[in-house]
């Protein structure tokens, strides 16, 4: 205590000071503040990546050759068949041949165009996804740095919040919430408090939208599977509905992935589920299973299957929420099936009141 030289109290002309604005980080008050230029302290040290992408094992060379040759074989077969098909059509009649050839050309052309477009936007979307992840991990780092008893506010959280809010500012339904956040948060709040405010005002309404999207998708998939006559149709239905859900949830949090980006997102979500959230996943699945068994006893096997499917779809939606939410879930409000049920019943209650 005595060895430390703290700065002496001092008064300055208010004309010479600048506001402790959200964008500037304050050098921490210590014995030698001059060692840190404010520009250098602006951002939190890059914390460890929150979603570890599972390291992909090296594919065996033989396997790779096999894969490629199989793909080439498929393409060649299709091309060969197509060629023969068109030749036969031309033999039959020139008009039929031309029409079919035009159709094939159109299909191929548009298919290639779609793929090219997806590829061209893929890089941008992946950048966006990485950005969302970096925002999330930075928010997590700020919250962790503050600890349970609340640290000091130094403007980093305000700056981060400004970046998180920016893409939402174009959405009219969030205008009120954003205005409320800006009116509530100020330099007197600690980093943790700023992010709590952001969660309460802006992210919570998004969560509610996402939960109801997940609920809808789960219901669709569940009912669809219970009613569908064939297993193949089941699978297609569930995959289609789940992918649509992933897009919906990502869009709610301000991120619109194309097909490939969505695939990557799904891949990451599953990778994440396999490592981090496995416990919760298993617990939820067991819960859903128990419900399904009960349902099977009471109602029918189909209804039970439907419930199980609904739970799986919902689980996928919840994982998407975790991946896309700009502020990480706290321990208390982590997305889970139980939480989803509570949210949905609360929303039902609110509808009753209105």
């Amino acid at each position: 205590m005595t060895g430390k030289r703290a700065p002496r109290p001092v008064e300055a002309d208010p004309g010479t000071v600048r506001p402790a604005s959200p964008e500037t980080a304050t050098a921490p008050l210590g014995p030698k503040p001059q060692e840190l230029a404010p520009a250098e302290t602006q951002l939190a040290p890059e914390p460890p990546v929150r979603l570890p992408v599972p390291a992909r094992g090296k594919r065996r060379g033989l396997l790779r050759v096999f894969g490629w040759s199989l793909a080439l074989f498929a393409v060649a077969t299709i091309g060969f068949e197509l060629w023969q098909f068109l030749a036969r059509a031309f033999e039959t009649s020139f008009a039929v041949g031309t029409a079919l050839a035009a159709l094939v050309a159109l299909a191929t052309g548009t298919g290639v165009a779609v793929i090219l477009r997806e590829i061209s936007s893929f890089g941008r979307e992946m950048r966006k996804l990485r950005e969302v992840e970096s925002l999330t991990s930075r928010a997590a780092a700020l919250i962790a740095a503050d600890g349970a008893e609340g640290g000091r506010g130094d403007g980093r959280a305000l700056a981060l919040a400004a970046r998180i809010v920016e893409p939402y500012s174009l959405r009219p339904e969030l205008a009120g919430a954003i205005e409320r956040f800006r009116a509530s948060a100020n330099t007197a709040h600690s980093n943790r408090q700023v992010l709590e405010l952001l969660t309460e005002t802006v992210v919570r309404p998004l969560d509610r939208q996402a939960y109801s999207a997940v609920g809808r998708a789960a219901k669709d998939a569940g009912v669809g599977v219970a009613l569908s006559p064939s297993g193949l149709l089941d699978a297609g239905l569930v995959v289609w509905r789940t992918l649509r859900l992933v897009r919906e949830v990502a869009a709610i949090y301000g991120f619109r992935p194309g097909f490939f980006a969505r695939m990557r997102l799904v891949q990451r979500i599953l990778g994440n589920a396999a490592t981090a959230g496995a416990g919760g996943f298993v617990a939820d699945a067991m819960l859903a299973h128990a419900g399904a068994r009960l349902g099977g006893l009471l109602l029918s096997v189909w209804a039970g299957e439907g419930m199980l499917t609904a739970a799986r779809t919902a689980r996928m939606g919840l994982l998407t929420m975790e991946a896309c939410r700009p502020v990480p879930f706290g321990e208390a409000d982590r997305a889970s099936i139980a939480r989803l049920t509570r949210e949905l019943s609360a929303q039902l209650g609110r509808k009753d009141d209105a």
Partner: protein, 462 residues
């Protein structure tokens, strides 16, 4: 004036939706401003939740509206006047409180409790009762547990030690010359009381920065007249031969002391500090830091003395019937806006150390306590300034007695209780900032007021 047990029991069942908050704090620590800001922000928070974002009921948008009404049996709290003083053109804080007043604020809110519908309406009302009074009066509460001889001995000892010795010198010389066992002469008693009162007023003056000044009504009589015979008190040294008969000087003064205790302190204590559910203890840590070591120690002693007279341990059937259980005590370091916000964690830690013993005692009795940095009305803003090549976090505002704003780095608030070697000249420079440019349209700007209210009444607004 005293509230009878029967009435308290009745209240238990008729006013179940009422919370009494005991706002305690020594003089000039911001009780009136706390009450004003809390009431005003609660009135506005129904429409503008950003006024109190961390009060959960407003944060989740469930506070519908609030309404102020007077408290039965008390003069109304001058809410409008205080608010006008803060937001008006004269840039001033409300005048020091010199009498007792109170108000009730009714909060209309939606409950989110599970199964709430089965147990009543979803929209409910919670009444919050707040009482304002001169902070000095709290210092009378310890008298409830002392007799005249003990109080005299303690006060005499304190008056002969450094910060007070000079102020109390003439009075001490006079009472030392008296024969306490001698015959009771009213003129002598009055003379001693008069000299004591004079010294006490000097000690209570703001520039002396001394807190433990008893009996408090001598300094701030409130509704009593200056010359009230009940207030003519003075500690007396114990008689040498142990003779404390009723007709001695000592005995006569002891009777006056007894009357003061019974007629002045008792009713105040019973009525306002026996039945409360939540308590906020406001501590002006900065003022004590500014006053130096002696002032700091005196403030600690005053807070300790005050809090020791609260009975947190009441339990059993009677306490249940009277709803006398205290659930929460919040300690708040006030005027947090006088230092930049990155110093608030240290301010809070310092406060925790100042009240550590009392807080521990209260927790032992099963009452939850918390501590925070508070500014009921924030009248500065955080700025950064370059001073001799260092970037310092400063506060910018209008100090008392000046025409123009200034930016101030008041020194670094220590995270720990300063030891004797840490008090050196020029370590701190605090200025009293005035509420200039404060708008009340969407609630008064505040730091930690919402957290304090959440800690006090949050659990009743679920």
């Amino acid at each position: 004036m005293a509230e009878s047990g029967a009435r308290a029991v009745l209240r238990r069942f008729t006013e179940r939706n009422t919370v009494r908050i005991a706002v305690t704090g020594l003089r000039r620590c911001g009780k009136t401003v706390f009450t004003t800001s809390a009431v005003h922000n609660l009135l506005r928070a129904g429409q503008w939740p950003e006024a109190l974002p961390f009060l959960k009921v407003t944060g989740r948008g469930d506070l519908i509206a609030a309404e102020v009404s007077p408290l039965p049996g008390l003069p109304p709290f001058p809410f409008e006047d205080s608010l006008a003083a803060i937001t008006g053109g004269e840039h001033a804080w409300p005048r020091p409180t010199d009498r007792l007043s109170g108000l009730r604020i009714a909060l209309r809110y939606r409950t989110r409790r599970p199964l709430a519908r089965l147990r009543g309406p979803r929209v409910r009302v919670l009444n919050v009762d707040l009482v304002d009074y001169p902070g000095e009066w709290l210092l009378d509460l310890p008298l409830m547990a002392q007799d005249f001889a003990a109080w005299s001995a303690e006060t005499l000892a304190r008056a002969s030690r450094p910060p007070r010795a000079a102020l109390f010198e003439p009075w001490r010389a006079y009472v030392d010359g008296l024969d306490a066992a001698g015959p009771a002469d009213p003129a002598v008693l009055d003379r001693a009381a008069e000299m004591y009162a004079e010294a006490l007023r000097a000690a209570a003056a703001p520039e002396s920065r001394l807190f433990l000044n008893q009996p408090a009504r001598v300094v701030r009589p409130g509704e009593r007249e200056e010359g009230d015979p009940l207030l003519k008190l003075s500690p007396l040294p114990a008689p040498a031969n142990g003779g404390t008969g009723a007709d001695t000087l000592h005995g006569a003064m002891a009777r006056r002391f007894e009357a003061y205790r019974r007629q002045v302190v008792g009713p105040f204590y019973r009525r306002h500090f026996r039945h409360f559910e939540a308590q906020i203890v406001l501590v002006d840590v900065l003022a004590a830091l500014k006053g130096g070591e002696e002032s700091f120690d005196d403030m600690r002693a005053a807070i300790a003395a005050t809090l020791q007279s609260f009975d947190y341990a009441r339990s059993g059937l009677r306490a249940w019937l009277e709803s006398a259980r205290t659930r929460r005590v919040v300690f708040a370091a006030t005027k947090a806006d006088h230092v930049s916000s990155n110093q608030h964690p240290n301010l809070r830690r310092l406060l925790e150390e100042v009240v550590a013993r009392e807080s521990n005692r209260i927790r032992f009795r099963g009452v939850a306590t918390s501590a925070l940095a508070l500014s009921s009305v924030r009248c500065t803003e955080d700025v950064l300034g370059e001073v001799q090549g260092q970037t310092l976090s400063m506060v910018r505002g209008l100090p008392a007695g000046r025409e123009t704003e200034t930016a101030l780095f008041p020194g670094e608030i220590p995270a720990h209780f300063p030891g004797p070697q840490d008090w050196r000249d020029g370590r701190f420079r605090f200025l009293d900032f005035l509420p200039a440019r404060v708008s009340s349209a969407r609630g008064l700007p505040q730091i930690g007021l919402d957290l304090a209210l959440e800690a006090l009444i949050g659990d009743r607004l679920r």
